[in-house]
């Protein structure tokens, strides 16, 4: 199931009708809690598009509360559900705050750019990036395909792909790994 969450609407609904900026920790914590409630309503595997398009300002503290702590929970060893996220509509200044938060925890996320292409933001190693790029280019790939593309052996490629799926950057479907935010 694919769900779309407009962060600006969540902000108005959960904190204050008049706010358009995601600033302060209490605001961020309230918004994250609301997102978690929405996700709790949907059992099974989900893909949630978190949309920043109508968010004005995002400060560092709020980025930490909304984005990093949300991902930290779902990219943990015991996530509350099998949820994946794509972040949309982020401006450069949103990215500044989000990147700073992600790097602190060693997290990464998939962001859909304004031209529709996706990218990984955050803490990603070179090999992880190349593996993710390969799957993203193909839309879906198995271990053998990624290993061939990277010039790596199959166990090494598999470790990368499992790691990326545990980090919620790829979805594993049987033997295939699917890219999030794939436009093609």
């Amino acid at each position: 199931m694919i769900r779309h969450i407009d962060l600006s609407s969540v902000l108005r609904r959960s904190v204050c009708d008049l706010y358009s900026n995601l600033v302060t920790r209490p605001t961020g914590a309230a918004v994250r809690t609301e997102i978690e409630h929405l996700l709790a309503d949907t059992p099974g595997r989900t893909l949630t598009v978190i949309d920043f398009s109508h968010v004005g300002l995002l400060d560092y503290s709020c980025a930490d509360e909304v984005v990093a702590k949300l991902l930290l929970r779902f990219a943990s060893e015991a996530p509350p559900s099998d949820a994946y996220f794509v972040f949309r509509g982020m401006q450069e200044w949103h990215l500044d705050a989000i990147e700073a938060a992600l790097v602190r925890y060693g997290l990464a996320l998939v962001s859909e750019r304004h031209d529709g292409l996706a990218q990984i933001i955050g803490n990603v190693g070179d090999d992880e990036q190349r593996a993710w790029d390969t799957v993203y280019r193909l839309g879906a790939a198995d271990v053998a395909t990624v290993a061939a593309s990277l010039g790596a052996d199959a166990p090494a490629a598999e470790r990368l792909l499992i790691g990326l799926s545990e980090r919620r950057l790829l979805v594993r479907l049987d033997e295939q790994y699917l890219a999030l935010g794939h436009a093609g």
């Binding site: 300002l57 930490d64 938060a101 962001s111």
Partner: protein, 320 residues
């Protein structure tokens, strides 16, 4: 007995220390009269500092406002007297502030005590900051947003760490003697709360070293991003502010207790750390960003490109 504390003609972060030196030997319950009759100019730091002084006194102090009509009018436009009349016994009458379309006051003195106040500050300054910073300081729209992010973070420090409310003010003005008369924008935030040292001491299980003092607490918080909260995500606000100020040759100084730390840009010769100052409760933060000039801009663009390259080691925005 009332002790008279004269306000220097020019009141800024440096001359404010003169007030604190005079206040330091006085017991908190001694009546003081803050004599600003001869004051001709005050920075946002000076004005929010005066309010903070009043907040620290157990007996309501008296304030004699500036005699100069021009100074009086300016202090009024900053919203100073609106707050001062709640904290001081004001001698004489002060003019009511009238909103003006053309004003160097980007954000009137605003009290900050809770999270909603930070939203209010951000909402009020956002559009105005973009217009004025671009027009007067050649700071582009994206940087203006980052400026407001920085403002949001320094205000949150009051809400989260001070234990009592403080004030924030933002203003642009032209430096007459420094930086070739360039314009600057200044943020000043001041509170009379527990200060950085006591805030960090409140961390459960924190081991204190022999050298533990206000200076070290400031180094920990401002330079190393240490927070009283164990949460890994804490301490990002000041780190983000430092990063922004580094790109825009801005200056950050934080005074707390008996010490003051500064991130000093190349255009300034301030001391990175001052210790043994007169004690003063809470924390006082000042951020100064100078007008952008073309040659510096080109240099900064190059630095930004280098930053993007370096980012690959820690964080990346790779595009497939």
């Amino acid at each position: 007995m009332t002790t008279v504390i004269p306000v220097p003609q020019s009141l800024d972060d440096v001359t404010f220390e003169q007030l604190l030196e005079r206040l330091a030997p006085l017991p908190p319950d001694e009546k003081v009269l803050i004599d600003a009759r001869h004051a001709r100019w005050a920075s946002p730091y000076g004005l929010v500092g005066l309010l903070t002084i009043a907040q620290t006194r157990e007996v309501r102090p008296t304030l004699t406002p500036p005699e100069s009509d021009e100074t009086l009018s300016y202090w009024s436009r900053t919203g100073f007297f609106r707050h001062a009349e709640e904290l001081f016994e004001l001698h004489g009458t002060v003019p009511r502030a009238r909103p003006t379309a053309e004003s160097s006051v980007l954000l009137e003195i605003t009290s900050v005590a809770k999270s909603a106040d930070v939203h209010d500050v951000v909402d009020r300054i956002q559009q105005r900051a973009q217009n004025i910073l671009e027009r007067e300081l050649s700071i582009d729209a994206q940087a203006s947003v980052r400026f407001v992010m920085t403002l949001s973070e320094v205000c949150q420090n009051v809400v989260e760490h001070a234990g009592r409310g403080g004030w924030v003010a933002v203003q642009t003005y032209r430096w007459q003697k420094r930086l070739g008369g360039r314009r600057v924008v200044q943020i000043a935030v001041s509170d009379a709360g527990i200060g950085f040292r006591r805030s960090l001491e409140s961390t459960p299980g924190r081991a204190l070293t022999d050298r533990w003092d206000d200076g070290m607490a400031l180094e920990e918080a401002v330079i190393r991003g240490v927070s009283r909260f164990r949460d890994r995500g804490r301490g990002q606000g000041l780190a983000g502010a430092r990063n922004f100020l580094g790109k825009w040759s801005g200056k950050l100084s934080v005074r707390s207790g008996t010490a003051r730390i500064a991130i000093v840009p190349p255009w300034d010769d301030d001391a990175p750390l001052l210790e043994g100052l007169s004690p003063f409760p809470g924390a006082q933060v000042q951020i100064t960003i100078p007008e952008r000039v073309p040659e510096r801009d080109e240099q900064r663009t190059g630095e930004r490109a280098a930053d993007r390259g370096r980012a690959a080691t820690g964080s990346r925005r790779g595009v497939a």
